[in-house]
């Protein structure tokens, strides 16, 4: 965890300095009296870990909601790759490094989001990767594992993209989300190409039209859009000689939170 990065994400003007000072003193993290610098105080780890939750709360409910939504998706991915890597006969040795790399990133994303949210974080969900029996062989059949991996990564890319606008008031959080977003896209491209090679399917690193390649269709709904910020690629004369398929590949599309929830809900165990 890079503490400075975390601190820079915060809008310190929204934090009650006196409250934090008094808590810091009470818990013995800070000496009474003297100059108080919130940023300097936060740079010491115990204070940061104690204060972060209430500071995260000060960022506003929209930011918290987006971060919790992101955390849910990261938990899903992290646990999925953990189970995949722990299933001894599943991933061929030559492909393991790809999934170990992806897993490490998802672990880091979970840790980052949990630290940023502190006590504002939702509880750890429980997953059913068979999705109620829809994918019974996800951890015994490599092609099924690849299909799910592709679906989760492409969903992740679309989910972060859909939330960017909600994070616009919080510059540093927006940048952090964009930095995760492009990592998910790197993963997605890798997994798609790997799946194409292993399953002998025509799958590129980028999404052609709204083609699902036998992954859940909802993940690719609307990916064939050609109008962006009001400009339709199909009416740009200078690119009429470029294929219609390429025009859909060149732009990835967002999903709303509701669309994403519908996609991932079958994989989440409902608590009684």
């Amino acid at each position: 965890m890079n503490l400075n990065q975390l601190i820079n994400m915060l809008d310190l003007s929204k934090v009650d300095h006196d409250e934090i000072k008094s808590i810091g003193e009470r818990r013995g993290f800070m000496k009474k009296a003297g100059q108080f610098s919130l940023k300097a105080a936060l740079a010491t780890l115990p204070i940061a870990l104690t204060m972060m939750p209430r500071i995260a709360k000060a960022q506003g409910s929209t930011t918290i909601d987006v971060l919790n939504f992101a955390l849910l998706l990261e938990y899903l991915e992290r646990d999925f790759y953990k189970m995949g890597l722990d299933s001894s006969a599943l991933i061929p040795s030559g492909d393991r490094q790809v999934f170990e790399t992806i897993y490490q990133h998802e672990v880091a994303h979970v840790e980052f989001l949990r630290a940023a949210l502190g006590s504002a974080q939702d509880e750890v969900p429980e997953f059913d990767f068979t999705a109620g029996g829809m994918f019974p062989n996800g951890f015994t059949d490599y092609p099924t594992f690849l299909t799910l991996s592709q679906a989760f990564e492409d969903t992740g890319v679309r989910a972060y993209k859909g939330q960017a606008g909600n994070l616009q008031p919080a510059d540093e959080v927006l940048t952090a989300a964009l930095q995760i977003h492009s990592v998910e896209a790197r993963h997605a491209s890798m997994v798609r190409r790997l799946r194409g090679q292993r399953a002998n399917l025509e799958i590129k690193g980028w999404i052609t039209n709204a083609e699902s390649n036998n992954a859940p269709q909802a993940v690719y709904e609307g990916e064939d859009a050609t109008t962006h910020a009001g400009a339709d690629l199909n009416s740009i004369v200078s690119i009429t000689d470029i294929s219609a398929a390429a025009r859909t590949e060149a732009f990835d599309e967002p999903l709303t939170k509701e669309q994403v929830v519908e996609i991932v809900n079958p994989f989440i165990v409902k608590r009684a």
């Binding site: 994303h109 964009l178 997605a188």
Partner: protein
């Protein structure tokens, strides 16, 4: 784990970067805005393009959202020009595997689409076409071409990631988001072609300990791009936060 071919400390985009960065002054001449009668305004309203009256060999990217779009347009021009040369080079089909050829053809198409989209969105606010300087690139060398593609794609990702917070219009932020993930898909594919099935598709030369990709601000990106463009790119009027 196979050794990572890139040292984590080496985040420079090119050997020229540091030198170019030092040369990058950040102070350019902002020519007065001049409207071109009868031209389309694009999506961003009426023309206030400082380059409407070309004064010298310097390109002022402008300010505000328009400046950021011109900044993206400059980078996409660079990428599109690069892949056009790659695909047109003698011996293209003999030099690359079938998948590599398909990737490079797709990247050419995508970057041209990005370029033409941004040009359309900018309308009369668009900077002129840039003159690429690819003298340093041996287009008959597979290694050189793939290494340069990696630089350009990673740079594109870092540039859009850094520019997101600089945009005011939420619609333009969404468009930047739609493009950046495609650039990241490109970067991943090129990196995997160079070092297949390694961790390099998202290697720790670009991904940090939080699992974050790079985010670079315009001065650093322009310094890295400058060696590949004949005109002087002036980003001194771009937003900084």
């Amino acid at each position: 784990m196979a050794p990572n071919t890139n040292q984590p400390a080496e985040k420079d985009f090119s050997p020229l970067k540091r030198r170019a960065f030092l040369k990058y002054s950040g102070f350019g001449i902002a020519a007065s805005a001049a409207a071109l009668a009868g031209c389309e305004d694009g999506l961003l309203g009426p023309n206030n393009n400082p380059n409407s009256k070309p004064a010298d060999n310097e390109i002022d990217l402008g300010s505000g959202d328009i400046g950021i779009l011109n900044y993206a347009y400059a980078l996409e021009q660079l990428e599109a020009g690069f892949y056009t040369m790659v695909v047109a080079a003698d011996g293209f089909s003999g030099r690359y595997s079938e998948e590599e050829q398909e990737i490079l053809q797709d990247l050419k198409a995508h970057e041209i689409i990005h370029r033409e989209f941004l040009k359309t969105a900018l309308g009369t606010n668009a900077i002129p076409s840039l003159t690429p300087n690819f003298d340093s690139i041996d287009f008959t060398s597979r290694d050189a071409v793939l290494a340069t593609a990696k630089v350009f794609e990673d740079l594109g990702v870092a540039a859009y990631n850094g520019a997101g917070k600089l945009l005011v219009d939420a619609n333009l932020l969404l468009v930047a988001g739609k493009i950046v993930s495609v650039e990241a898909r490109h970067a991943s594919a090129i990196r995997d072609v160079i070092n297949p099935l390694s961790m390099d598709f998202a290697g720790d030369d670009v991904i940090d300990e939080n699992g974050f990709d790079q985010a670079l601000m315009p001065p650093e990106v322009l310094a890295a791009a400058q060696p590949y463009v004949k005109e002087k790119l002036n980003g001194s009027n771009l937003p900084i936060e």
